[in-house]
Symmetry: C2
Subunit: 223 residues, 2 copies
């Protein structure tokens, strides 16, 4: 690989990981604001989204500049198109964190719907998936990536369980329908963040194996 | 522009529009299944999603092949990266149509929650946005694209109004909480399809003006 290209790719990776760090913080802070009914915490996440969008644009510009300047082929080309895809996933995660923060602000007002305890575990599992998916990208490790994809089942189970609790709450306490609906949306947002981590993991497998596994989970083997 | 590149780009546009046609049909059929409580119609949308995923992969492969073969620069490079982004949006719209179809199947079972009439208008407005956004891409027309972005406000209003109705229904009839929640999800999915049409419109403006307007609606001018 030409030396300049390698340098630019390393720089691109650093930008991508910086973006990932911001997104991770946004998810952590949004779910913390949700659990602690912290209106100001929610507002800070919403205010911070500009920075994420800005960084997303910068990473995409960097990708296009590298494409134009070095006209890379084969694996380098694939790497850049994967960075473009991961960037899109990260930016959507940031938007979903904003959605959670908006619900956190709504939930800080009475009447108070109980926050299911399981949300904390679901958040931890989701964040682990996000971190692992980026590690898998940095290390080019398809085994780590496959682990992320399998972990999504646990988050889906959390999601189903919490929604069952919320349905019971709404039936029992009609005056809590509105906050319960906000909580329902927040949990669905969290579940979608985990889906985006799965997307990233699938992109890593594509990068390493040259095969598109998005929509083809059977390509992972071992169920 | 080299003749071969031009031919490949035209072919790429045709593939993209074929994908868009499939996605549009999926959205039409999923919302029709929802409104008519048509379980089989819902199942057909779910079964058809494989084809959309397959087409998405083909379009992305075509993009990478053109990048590798022609190493295009400037506006042609931008055009291909926009096709990549639009493809991702279309595939997500297909997934959202599947989500609506799943809710349609759930809603075909009793107890029956009333389907708000406004869903029909919301569907029409959303589909118009999807079609307009692709027309704007084909014609490279930023004015048409700006119209799509503004139309999203109407769909957001539909969404708010329908959700208000659903909240009232849930409060009044606790035994309808579960189907009302399915309907809530379906409406949110429809609203997100409109958001993806907005994304496509923003990409068209980027393509034509070379400026990224995602996250920068003020760049459109005129509010």
């Amino acid at each position: 690989m030409p030396k300049h290209l390698q340098k630019d790719l390393e720089e691109l990776h650093r930008s991508l990981l910086r973006l990932a760090g911001y997104v991770e913080d946004a998810v952590v802070n949004a779910t913390a604001a949700l659990r602690t009914r912290d209106r100001d915490g929610g507002r800070r996440v919403i205010a911070g989204d500009n920075e994420i969008d800005q960084l997303e644009n910068e990473v995409q510009d960097e990708c296009l500049k590298i494409l134009a300047l070095h006209q890379p082929v084969a694996v380098d080309l694939r790497r850049i198109s994967v960075v473009l895809m991961i960037t899109t996933d990260l930016e959507r995660m940031g938007d979903l964190a904003v959605g959670i923060a908006e619900r956190a602000i709504a939930l800080a007002r009475p009447p108070y719907v109980p926050i299911p305890e399981r949300i904390e575990g679901m958040t931890d599992r989701t964040l682990r998936m996000v971190r692992l998916s980026l590690d898998a990208f940095v290390n080019g490790d398809p085994i780590e990536a496959a682990r992320v994809i399998r972990a999504d089942d646990d988050v889906d189970r959390d999601n189903d369980e919490i929604i069952r609790e919320l349905v019971a709450e709404m039936k029992q306490s009609p005056h809590l329908v509105e906050p319960a609906l906000s909580l329902f949306s927040a949990v669905r947002h969290l579940e979608r963040i985990a889906d985006h981590a799965t997307n990233i993991a699938e992109d890593v497998i594509y990068l390493v194996n040259g095969e598109i596994v998005r929509h083809h989970p059977e390509a992972l083997g071992g169920g």
